[in-house]
């Protein structure tokens, strides 16, 4: 093990001065030179679109790649609840420091101070930029922007557009990108998948991509490559990610020398629609913002839970005193707004103890009846001057408010489950949602491969072991709009004499050949099982052994099982169709092959980390009350894994230094 292979390049100076000083002293590239420098952006979500648009505005030659039919489809589009920013518009005590502190604490003290502080600093600029682009955030009657609360904080700093904030922010970044495309400054490659990065003399010089319609393998040169390709939650098969979300771009980069940071840090989101059957292809999130107004409960008595499961008891008829609002009971200070990892584990604990409320026993209630009636109903009644309103009146009045705030989420729930959430409490259960781990990057967002960057969810940098709600959108846009346009100059200012990269260089030829051979190999297996068959098996291993709770024995078993699965996959997968045509099964096969390798690394990382922190819960390491028990003495580091041939890894460590925050056991009580 060595520590010197990674250098986070954190600028000197006081925390509050680092970014300001860095921005003012980072080398610049003059406009005439920018025109000769090519940047490739892979992925068109919040991080990718915002980076591509901003770099193009600066004058760089930009190429963007996405596997979907349009950049607007990237999965950022599905983010629901909101985006955090330290604007303090509510006058409730928010500040850059507080956002920074909440994020570090929420991440269970496993994130890098300097990056998180910078994130909090630029958060306010993001809101300004988005409003200028015409993003229609929710507003109050006076015309000012509205905010809502999210988990892990005690201020209201979340900006939103109903339950479609991600959509509106992405469409903002997408229109900025389309504007550059229209100006001829960005070349867009839709329905293209990156299948390798090309490295010449130790620097990233381009990518190999497959045109998903024709199957043609293409070489694309660049002076820098930005991977903005999102997270890898689909390693679990069932997750809230889109069907196409994958790790392939990051994984190919990893195999070419980019270290992978904290791969085992996975976020299991507490409020998702429970699994209903084997046919299920994905899970659907119910936004964290619902925890503003929804109260989470299970019955106090096991016999009531059983009666509900068997359909003998209607939950609406269960008396108040027979309900266990377990988050409010266990965490009175934060109540239903504890961070996601805490809420998820608490739900699992209740369900494991036999209090689950659906047929599978894996669901708890998220109930709006109380707030609909008493919070909103009463307020509306008072506004309308209705004295002594009836219960039914209160419900009716409150329903209208809830509909305005969460209408699309309620409709979605109704559509998927067939149950009307205005009349009945929602049933929810935790599901895989986000991955805090990702490619290791330094302060510049550069990976361990010079010229190769990772932005947004694809990197590991800002969320430690648990991400706070409404912070993914913030990070994606911070990286793309306000960080990379500056930090990329530190590297590209040394590339102005490089000139055009030669696509016929032997490294390009070799990379293209290796991509073609892998695809041909996949097609030639002609086995007996579909790609999904293997993906589902992988997902089950990961969920059972490397999911919400992990232990050493299970992880060791999982590693053996995954290695076995890998050899079965490469000898028995069946891919129909041809190489040189639109072939979604072939696309999936390549992605699942990478997920299988990643799954093993996640288990190894989880096995190495002999502590519990954030979303990483090792059963052996917990307090008497069942909370995560960190070991700061031995594990206050980022795991940065280096790939070794033959599917093996070497661990490097980035020690985390907390100079501005006193680390303590996280408490939300």
């Amino acid at each position: 093990m060595s520590a010197n292979k990674i250098d986070a390049k954190i600028p000197d100076g006081a925390l509050e001065q680092k970014w300001t000083k860095y921005r003012s002293t980072v080398p610049l590239v003059n406009p005439a030179n920018k025109r000769n420098l090519e940047v490739i952006v892979v992925g068109s979500g919040l991080a990718g679109s915002s980076a591509a648009a901003s770099l193009s505005e600066l004058g760089y030659k930009v190429k963007v790649f996405c596997f979907q039919d349009s950049p607007r489809r990237a999965h950022s589009i599905a983010a629901q609840g909101g985006i955090n920013a330290a604007k303090n518009y509510q006058n409730d005590g928010d500040s850059v420091y507080r956002l920074f502190y909440d994020t570090i604490k929420g991440g269970d003290y496993r994130a890098r101070e300097s990056n998180v502080y910078r994130l909090a600093e630029v958060s306010a600029n993001i809101i300004d930029q988005c409003v200028a682009q015409g993003v229609p955030f929710a507003r109050e009657y006076g015309g000012m922007l509205d905010n809502r609360s999210f988990g892990g904080t005690q201020v209201k700093r979340t900006f939103y557009a109903a339950g479609q904030t991600g959509q509106q922010l992405l469409l903002g970044a997408y229109s900025a990108l389309q504007r550059q495309i229209g100006l001829g400054a960005v070349s867009m490659y839709t329905r293209h998948e990156m299948l390798d990065v090309v490295i010449i003399d130790g620097k990233c010089r381009g990518i190999i991509a497959r045109d998903l319609i024709s199957g043609k393998i293409e070489r694309h040169t660049a002076h820098a490559v930005l991977l903005c390709t999102g997270g890898y939650g689909n390693v679990f098969f069932l997750s809230t990610n889109a069907m196409g979300s994958n790790v392939t771009a990051a994984w190919k980069a990893h195999k070419r020398g980019a270290f992978f940071g904290n791969p085992c840090f996975t976020q299991i989101h507490p409020t998702c629609i429970p699994v209903s059957g084997d046919h299920q292809s994905k899970l659907t999130l119910m936004s964290e913002s619902l925890r503003n107004d929804g109260r989470i409960w299970v019955p106090k008595k096991k016999e009531d839970a059983a009666a509900i499961r068997e359909g003998r008891l209607n939950p609406n008829d269960l008396k108040e005193e027979d309900r266990d609002y377990y988050l409010e009971r266990r965490y009175p200070a934060f109540g239903n707004l504890v961070p996601r990892d805490v809420a998820s584990r608490a739900a699992k604990e209740r369900c494991d103890a036999g209090f689950g409320v659906n047929q599978t026993g894996e669901a708890v209630y998220l109930d709006f009846a109380h707030n609909m009636k008493y919070k909103y109903g009463k307020k509306e009644a008072a506004k309308k001057g209705i004295t002594n309103p009836t219960e039914a009146q209160l419900t009716e009045l409150g329903k209208a408010v809830v509909k305005e705030q969460y209408g699309n989420l309620f409709d979605m729930y109704h559509q998927i489950t067939g149950v009307n959430p205005y009349e009945n409490p929602m049933m929810i259960y935790p599901a895989v949602h986000y991955t805090m781990g990702g490619l290791w990057v330094d302060y510049n967002l550069m990976t361990t491969v010079p010229g190769l960057y990772a932005l947004g969810e694809a990197n590991f940098s800002d969320h430690g072991a648990n991400r706070l709600g409404a912070s993914a959108l913030m990070q994606g846009l911070a990286d793309g709009y306000f960080v990379i346009p500056y930090t990329i100059g530190a590297y590209l200012s040394n590339e102005i004499r490089t000139g055009n990269i030669n696509p016929d260089h032997e490294a390009f030829v070799a990379a293209e050949k290796s991509v073609s051979e892998t695809l041909q190999k996949l097609m030639s297996i002609k086995g007996s099982k579909s790609v999904d068959y293997f993906h589902k098996r992988l997902g089950k291993i990961m969920w059972d052994k490397c999911g919400m709770a992990r232990n050493a024995e299970g992880l060791k078993q999982a590693i053996t099982d995954i290695q076995q699965l890998r050899s079965e996959f490469w000898s028995d997968v069946r891919i129909p169709g041809d190489l040189n045509e639109f072939n979604p099964e072939l696309e999936k096969a390549g992605r699942v092959a990478d997920f299988i390798e990643l799954g093993e690394l996640m288990c190894r990382d989880a096995l190495n980390r002999n502590e519990s922190c954030g979303g990483h819960f090792r059963e052996e390491y917990q307090t008497e009350e069942g909370e995560a028990l960190r070991d700061d003495e031995n594990f206050s580091y980022v795991s940065a894994w280096e790939f070794k041939p033959g599917v093996d890894w070497e661990l490097h460590k980035e020690e985390l230094k907390y100079e501005n925050i006193k680390i303590a056991q996280r408490s939300y009580k």
């Binding site: 229609p136 229109s175 889109a242 069907m243 067939g418």
Partner: protein, 254 residues
Amino acid sequence: MSGNMNLTLKVWRQKNKSDKGRFETYPVQDISPDMSFLEMFDVLNEKLINDGKEPVAFDHDCREGICGMCSMFINGRPHGPLQGVTTCQLHMRSFKTGDTIVVEPWRAKAFPVIKDLAVDRSAFDRIIASGGFISVNTGNAQDANATPIGKDDADASFAAAMCIGCGACVAACKNASAMLFVSAKISQFALLPQGQPERNQRVLNMVAQMDAEGFGSCTNTGACEAECPKGISLSNIARMNRDFIGAQLSSQKV
């Protein structure tokens, strides 16, 4: 399992853009009413693969009704029989055992078929690139609360901005017109103070690009609004028409 369904699917199969294409009939058995329409297609494809046949290509991604990628024309209606719902959010409880379901791609000259049920909707991206934005470079923005925007305007702008760009409006229209899609974007910005400086130029450019892509004219039948999974209102088209005429009359560039 009780309540599960047996169905007959008539699915459009087309090898590539130049292939003529034809319907194929497939029976599917034991379909749970809780499955989404696309999950039912997963079952069909799994069966086709196991039988050594080629699965049906179709576009899909988020499967929660927001990315706008899924695009099936089901029993003569884009996204199927329900209102306000994309194909991925259509569940099999909307059908009954014994049903025959006809599934086709979006049909429009501007949306050529790529394969089977997947079509090329890049025309929409080109329309946005022609003017569907506010020209503000990163870093140019003033404080977000510097310009108050009335809640009603903000809400109306948001209602237009909810468009997911799926193309159901085009598929539903007998003229394959894209007016609902284009007018939604124009309205989003027309209702906001930030959108005013480019208002005239935007509508002229976007309409010109829409025509160049080969979309048809609007004859106000309202099929687009009825089939839009996000409930985008026909009134947006009226606003676009007003803006278009106004912009033509006042344009300095004649």
